[in-house]
């Protein structure tokens, strides 16, 4: 009997966490070009014992109306600027903060961004972990106004050095309480398309018409159970599968 059967936690690796995060975020108002870029955030949050997947589940309603264009620079003085987060969630704010820190470091050699009006401000700590892969050494000071400072940190090209949190995730994954994980899984499945008969015909080496006629060569060697393809599939499957 495995550990996963005797414990209430499951070891989840980045591949599955990214997939679930991406799918759940795709159900929000965030544009595709934005949520694809932040699919790592939830697993970093989980690894750092911040909100993680529980927060993703609890924040669905709020993220459902998220709008990253609400962020605005309200003051600027050399290498320091103030950012009004427009009451957006920390995960929505971190990308812009990192971009601005990067810009200011390139211009001035150092940077400071002060953020106000952010929901779940502790999530801004992700910037400290995520800064490494962009060549930044980031420090975060908590408070009503969260202050993030940065300097340049040369990239080595070695993940373990540039992004130790990612390396830890890749090596060890994260232990997640099983009930929460299967809840996340169920939620993420809502991003997938219904398995209609028409949809089933959009794949595979043959097409089955309404009257059961098979279109296509039969030398595919599949020994296909035609009745299985002619009806919608079960909904019990819960993970992506791959083949070469």
């Amino acid at each position: 009997m495995t550990d996963t059967m005797t414990m209430t936690t499951l070891r989840i690796m980045p591949r599955e966490m990214r997939m679930m995060s991406e799918r759940i975020l795709s159900l929000t108002s965030l544009p595709k070009g934005f949520f694809l870029a932040v699919q790592d955030y939830v697993m970093y949050s989980q690894k750092l014992s911040l909100g993680g997947f529980a927060m993703l589940e609890d924040s669905s309603e709020m993220l459902g109306t998220a709008d990253p264009s609400k962020l605005a620079i309200t003051a600027e003085d050399g290498s320091a600027l103030e950012l009004d987060a427009g009451h957006q969630h920390g995960w929505v704010v971190v990308p812009t903060v990192l971009d601005l820190l990067g810009e200011l470091v390139a211009r001035f050699g150092k940077a400071q961004v002060s953020v106000r009006n952010v929901i779940d401000p502790t999530e801004l700590q992700l910037a400290q972990a995520l800064g490494g892969r962009t060549g930044l050494q980031v420090a975060v000071t908590a408070g009503e106004i969260v202050t993030l400072t940065a300097t340049a940190r040369p990239l080595t090209g070695v993940v373990a050095q540039d992004d130790p949190v990612l390396w830890d995730l890749l090596c060890n994954g994260v232990q997640i309480e099983s009930t929460l994980w299967w809840q996340v899984y169920a939620h993420a499945k809502k991003a997938l398309a219904a398995d209609t008969i028409v949809s089933r015909r959009h794949a595979g080496p043959i097409i089955i018409t309404d009257d059961g006629t098979i279109i296509g060569r039969k030398d595919n060697d599949d020994e296909t159970d035609v009745s299985f393809l002619a009806s919608p599939g079960t909904k019990t499957t819960q993970a992506e599968s791959t083949k070469p």
Binding site: W167, R200, G233, T234, K243
Partner: protein
């Protein structure tokens, strides 16, 4: 200032690698043929070079094909185990597609020798599949199905004391077909990047490739085992037949997502091939150089292979045509051996001259076969390049770059996408999505699946929209501030910036267009990247083929096999 990236000849080459504008067209990518860079060939070469030891430790399977088995795989510095379970075949819910629910074998490739705890965990967890969890030492979970007709005929022949009919075997060329290889974190398996370059399976796709080879071995061992249980006069497969049989593989549209999600990997593999081709084309060869004869032998081998190919192809060039085209290359090279000239002209670089002379006159598949075979003339270059591939998937944004410079980068690297006609309905006809049934990737007309979320990478539409917004922005505006106003471009900006120094990362195609042929990119992955032979096309969206067609047996590997194993001839038995 954005400088143009042009493939340049380096110290060892007088011929520059082919430009991305040529290589990355989807029709050219579809024509690329297996080579020394391709996964199966590269991995088999490694196993042979290092004399890996694959052996059966347990084979407790009854006459109904129910039971379990364990293989041990010893590399020079560590051991792996392949734990599997055999099931009596059933016709219910059987299909070669990912949505299938009936499998004849399920297994796990683990690090370390098999323990009783590992075996019992696999016994409990594997059948659950999507709700199961792998042990922390698991690298791959896999499934395979028999080719019922070929397996049964082979079993009957062996049980009768005979070898199976070669003509029948050659219609399929495998006993079992891969129906799923899951790893890199799926089901809790180890993440591949964490293995590291010094790990025996730390290279590109190597854990899957070892598992596929073990599937091949298992299929042969199973049919021999069942024949012995059936009859006292049963015989084993002739070693020549064991080599000839590969492991089947079916692939579909999901690989297009793979191509788009791993652009650095695609660039590294295609770049390694193109660099080696350029080096080979730059060889200064006299007419009596032994490498000319080596190439001729390989071409003749490929011609026999193609002429013996019994598969049926729908849209792909027939093997007969490819063989005829390859014969023209042989004729030219034989003439070079006699005269020292190509097409009547003197040449310092005969392989390059021949390539230039003949490209337009032969099929793309034949031409790419020629280029692939050239890699065998520069094996050290190829074999050194493969372990050096490091292709992380993460992208980052350079917030300090100006809108002006980013726009110049877009115009330099994505001119093809900017020129794509996106005005008509055909350009956005299709949507890419996954069904809730086993998450099978599918492509459908938007009108037929109006609620599906588009999972495809709309490079052309995205680049055109990005360029339009960049043109309207202040030239000196930083990308950081540009993305505050245009957050919808974040992913594409990070992708474009992160890939700026690479050449072969993104297929030049609008995958949503009516004119896009989906199988082109699946074929790239199967044939060029994985090294699958005899890939048959179905409805322009599915492929069937086989890995390790002709590959050495474990006994061959242990004993230090030498020689060429790919493009096998049909066995001739006494």
């Amino acid at each position: 200032m954005i400088e143009t990236i042009q493939p340049a000849a380096h110290d060892e080459t007088s011929v520059a690698p082919r430009p991305s504008s040529l290589v990355m067209s989807s029709s050219r990518l579809a024509a690329i043929q297996p080579s020394r860079v391709s996964g199966a060939r590269a991995f088999m070469n490694k196993m042979v070079r290092e004399r890996w030891d694959v052996s059966i430790q347990r084979f407790d399977i009854d006459e109904n094909a129910a039971g379990s088995f364990v293989y041990s795989i010893k590399t020079p510095d560590r051991e792996f185990s392949f734990i599997g379970f055999s099931f009596p075949p059933t016709k219910t819910a059987r299909t070669g597609r990912i949505i299938g629910r009936a499998w004849d074998m399920m297994g796990t490739l683990n690090e370390g020798p098999a323990t009783e705890a590992d075996i019992e965990s696999a016994r409990v967890e594997l059948p659950k599949l999507y709700t199961g969890r792998a042990t922390p030492n698991a690298l791959i979970w896999c499934r395979s199905n028999r080719s019922m007709r070929i397996f049964d005929q082979t079993l009957a022949a062996l049980a009768d004391g005979n070898q199976p009919e070669i003509s029948t075997l050659s219609e399929v060329c495998y006993l079992m077909r891969n129906t799923g290889l899951d790893g890199n974190g799926t089901f809790g398996t180890r993440s591949f990047p964490s293995l590291g370059s010094d790990h025996p399976l730390g290279g590109v796709l190597q854990a899957q490739l070892l598992t596929a080879y073990l599937m091949r071995e298992y299929s042969c061992d199973l049919v021999e085992h069942l024949a012995q249980l059936k009859s006292e006069k049963a015989v084993k497969l002739d070693p020549a037949i064991r080599r000839f049989l590969g492991v089947g593989n079916g692939s579909a549209l999901g690989l297009i997502f793979f191509v788009h999600k791993h652009p650095r990997l695609i660039d590294a593999l295609l770049g390694a091939r193109e660099t080696a081709i350029a080096q080979a084309r730059s060889l200064v060869l006299e007419k009596d150089d032994a490498r000319i004869e080596q190439l001729l032998e390989l071409l003749r081998r490929a011609i026999v292979f193609r002429n013996q190919d019994r598969m049926v192809y729908e849209a792909f060039t027939s093997s007969k045509t490819v063989a005829t085209d390859l014969a023209r290359l042989v004729t030219e090279l034989e003439a070079f051996q006699q005269t020292g000239s190509i097409a009547g002209g003197e040449t310092r670089y005969p392989l390059d001259t021949l390539a230039q002379q003949i490209e337009a006159a032969i099929s793309p598949e034949a031409y790419e076969t020629y280029l692939s075979l050239l890699l065998e003339l520069v094996p050290e270059t190829v074999d050194a390049a493969i372990p050096a591939i490091n292709a992380p998937d993460e992208f980052t944004v350079d917030g300090a770059e100006t809108a002006q410079d980013l726009l110049a980068l877009v115009r330099r690297d994505y001119d093809w996408a900017l020129e794509a006609d996106m005005s008509g309905p055909d350009s956005t006809h299709y949507v890419w999505y996954k069904s809730e049934a086993a998450e099978e990737p599918r492509r459908g007309a938007r009108a037929e699946v109006p609620d599906a979320l588009d999972l495809g990478l709309d490079t052309c539409g995205g680049v055109q929209a990005l360029a339009g917004d960049l043109e309207a922005a202040q030239p000196g505006l930083s990308v950081a501030r540009f993305l505050m106003a245009h957050p919808q471009h974040r992913y594409l900006v990070s992708r474009i910036q992160s890939l700026r120094d690479l050449r072969y990362h993104t297929p030049r195609a609008n995958i949503n267009a009516e004119t896009f042929i989906p199988i082109d990119l699946v074929r790239l992955m199967n044939v060029g990247i994985h090294g699958i032979d005899k890939t048959r096309d179905f409805l322009n969206r599915n492929l069937r083929g086989m890995l390790y067609h002709g590959a050495p047996t474990p006994q061959d590997i242990r004993s230090g096999y030498t020689g060429t194993w790919f493009y096998p001839e049909e066995p001739i038995l006494p």
